[in-house]
């Protein structure tokens, strides 16, 4: 195991902030020693605590997170040595996006029933913990992407969470926390482009960064899907029910290069939700496996070939067949592996 991984996984009380500094230091000293093949392969961010118990027959496919990793390893797309383990997101880190009151209630189980209902989750200590690890994972993916150019989490994409409440299976907004954190606070802020291709609009993220010029929110979503009450991203593309591979890809190709050209981000956060797939139980589009793969390949290659780092999260996907869904989510990591190879990373 490399020095960097030791730091990330063996000091549980260290906040992510300090880790970033530590990582940079170690990197400098590691640079010459870094020869092992595994450590130079595509970074995959995963934590066993991305999951928690849910009531029997709960609609959220919690089991998918470990299965994504399982299939990637089983199919020899990656090895365990590529896996980076995140820290739990501290309250301090989360407070850069979420309100103090919400975080206190959330962490201490004081979310009332009405608010819980809108999230789709009954409150539990387990759900709090897994959301915090998931957010930590997205933040780590962003940090590693800044170092290595590309990184993927096996979770993430909780874009319906607002500063003071959760919604639609999202309790903390991981993309917003990662963007806010990596944006920095100096006068020369990093510019972050959030590309959200989940079939549902990234309403929470859009709201959070509405007035923030350093973060550009771009969402392609199906108009008729949840949420019906839409927020305003910096660029919203609302598509019709039933859109298929060709037209969808064309839509992304129309906008992404131009955004990269005009906004010139220092980092891209990519929500690669698989719910535009025709088999998705909630999404109303008709993409195929091939369409998703082409989409992910296109997004990551376009960004990487411009020298911009990109961190990807798996986003949404809904199916009662967990394995089938996990395989679908793993398309992202397979495409990322291809990009890593093609771009000589």
């Amino acid at each position: 195991m490399t020095c960097i991984k030791l730091i990330f996984s063996r000091r549980p009380r260290l906040k992510v902030g300090r880790l970033l500094g530590a990582a940079l230091t170690s990197r400098r000293c590691l640079h010459d020693e870094q020869v092992t093949r595994e450590s130079s392969a595509l970074p995959i961010i995963h934590h066993s605590k991305y999951v928690c118990d849910l009531p029997l027959n709960h609609r959220f496919p919690m089991g998918k997170f470990p299965r994504v990793l399982h299939f990637l390893i089983k199919d020899q797309v990656i090895t365990e040595k590529q896996v980076w383990v995140p820290e739990i997101a501290s309250k301090e880190l989360l407070s850069c996006v979420h309100t103090e009151e919400y975080l206190n209630n959330f962490i201490n189980g004081k979310i009332n029933e009405q608010e819980q209902r809108r999230t789709g989750f009954p409150w539990s200590e387990g759900i709090v913990r897994r959301c915090r690890y998931e957010t930590g994972g997205t933040v780590l993916a962003a940090e590693v992407a800044l170092q290595r150019g590309l990184a993927c989490s096996t979770a993430g994409g909780t874009h319906h969470a607002f500063p003071s409440f959760g919604s639609g299976f999202c309790l903390l907004n991981d993309l917003a926390v990662a963007a806010k954190y990596l944006m920095g606070i100096s006068s020369h802020k990093r510019k972050i482009l959030i590309v959200d291709l989940d079939v549902h609009q990234g309403d929470g993220t859009a709201f959070i960064f509405k007035e923030e010029p350093s973060v550009f929110t771009f969402s392609v979503h199906c108009g008729k899907n949840f949420p019906l009450r839409k927020q305003q991203s910096d660029l919203d593309i609302s598509v019709e029910d039933g859109m298929e591979d060709k037209e969808y890809l064309s839509t992304v190709e129309t906008h992404l290069p131009l955004l990269l050209e005009t906004f010139r981000p220092d980092l891209v956060l990519y929500d690669a939700g698989v719910d535009p797939h025709w088999e998705d139980e909630l999404g109303r589009l008709r993409l195929t496996d091939q369409g998703l793969y082409q989409r992910d390949l296109y997004v990551m290659k376009t960004v990487v070939s411009r020298g911009v780092p990109i961190a990807a999260v798996i986003g949404g996907g809904y199916s009662r067949d967990i394995d089938r869904l996990a395989l679908r989510h793993s398309i992202l990591h397979r495409a990322a592996t291809q990009v890593w190879r093609d771009c000589g990373m």
């Binding site: 709960h58 919604s167 949840f226 009450r229 009662r320």
Partner: protein, 379 residues
């Protein structure tokens, strides 16, 4: 106005998230005009029809195939209702019955006691066309009465009547009257149904029930309404055909439900006061029906925009208030606020799937839903 629209979208979003937990399946469809009838024509298709005063559409809808793809829901993308056959009527459709073993349905417009016979599709046609009629006995009708009730047990005969003294069993094609029960009182009917090949039950709006055996010439057995002192109420009746076979429910417009056994209709096995808002009802408004595949359960609709499911097997002999096992609020929640209160116009259980129902409301919405048994998912 835009703000109000956003609030409504918010309500719909809340409902969507809640429905993910409450239902195994939920699919919605919007008819141009509301229907008062829902009748299965096969395991996957239903007939609906409008009830406005002049021309109406009569449609055969195929349910979203995704509903039936139990083991492989992900593999079936078909999540929409489809209109497979359609036609036009000259008047309202107040009652609609499928004739078993045929592609025919029979309707009544509530204006006379005559029936219209329709053939659905055939020869690659997607049309529902009028192919016959059946004359009823009495022509005279008043507005306060519901129309004819219709029942069909076999492919060649239809049982129908608007009042207890004009019930007849008629040969479908020849129009020949095969049987009329010896009943002299003229009570408007709220239901007519076969309980076996030869025995049928006629439920009257005043709560009387006539049990008739077509094999005998003896007068039908009359079972009077449960005593309801001081109240002027309407009654609806349903006799169970599936797992609760032998049970009969009588429901009053004040929300009182009485359960009896078919062999002893005079005695109440159990009863309960349902949690419904009593309202001024017409005979066509309320539907009560036994679940074909869920023991002891009944569905009740028409008092509001909610379809309620009750488990009668936990009721006692003493009249007590009971709470529903489940309430489908989808129509009420998703109706536009400016359209006023929405009411359920009809509901129907799926003949085999235990918790699958169809419901239609006054705003033209049609839902098919399969609710989650909460007691089974408690940990």
């Amino acid at each position: 106005m835009a703000e109000r629209g956003e609030d409504f979208n918010d309500v719909l979003d809340d409902w969507f998230i809640e429905s993910l937990k409450t239902y195994k399946d939920l699919h919605v469809y919007q008819l141009e005009h509301p229907t008062q009838v829902i009748e299965w024509t096969s395991g996957k298709t239903v007939c609906v029809a409008g009830y406005s005063s002049s021309k109406n559409e009569i449609l055969e809808l195929q349910l979203p195939l995704k509903l039936f793809a139990d083991e492989n829901k992900g593999l079936c993308a078909e999540r929409d209702f489809k209109v497979v056959h359609g036609g036009f009527t000259d008047g309202p459709v107040r009652c609609l019955r499928h004739v078993p073993g045929t592609r025919c349905v029979v309707t009544n417009d509530g204006l006379t006691s005559d029936l219209q016979v329709w053939t659905v599709g055939g020869d690659d046609s997607d049309v529902i066309r009028r192919t016959g009629s059946v004359a009823g006995r009495k022509r005279r009708r008043t507005d306060s009465e519901g129309g004819s009730r219709i029942a069909a047990r076999c492919s060649t005969q239809v049982l129908h009547g608007a009042q207890s003294d004009d019930i007849q069993l008629t040969h479908l094609t020849s129009g020949q009257i095969l049987y009329t029960p010896e009943i002299t009182s003229s009570d408007p009917l709220s239901s007519l149904q076969f309980v076996s090949d030869d025995v049928f039950l006629a439920g009257c709006c005043n709560g009387n029930i006539y049990l008739t055996d077509t094999r005998t010439s003896a007068s039908p057995q009359l079972s009077p309404a449960p005593a309801s002192p001081g109240e002027s109420v309407l009654w609806w009746t349903d006799a169970a055909a599936g797992v609760s076979s032998g049970s009969v429910v009588r429901l009053s417009s004040s929300g009182r439900a009485v359960i009896s056994d078919l062999r002893n209709l005079g005695a109440a096995v159990s009863q309960a006061q349902l949690s419904v808002q009593s309202r001024r009802c017409n005979p066509d408004d309320v539907t009560v029906s036994w679940a074909p595949a869920l023991p002891g359960c009944i569905a009740v609709s028409g008092f509001s925009g909610v379809v309620q499911i009750y488990n009668t097997s936990v009721w006692g002999v003493e009249l007590q208030e009971v709470q529903p096992l489940f309430g489908h609020r989808g129509h009420a929640v998703s109706s536009l606020p400016e359209e006023g209160d929405v009411f359920i116009t009809s509901h129907a259980w799926h003949p085999e799937r235990p918790r699958t129902l169809l419901s239609a409301a006054s705003d033209g919405s049609v839902h098919v839903w399969d609710w989650v048994d909460q007691s089974a998912s408690d940990r």
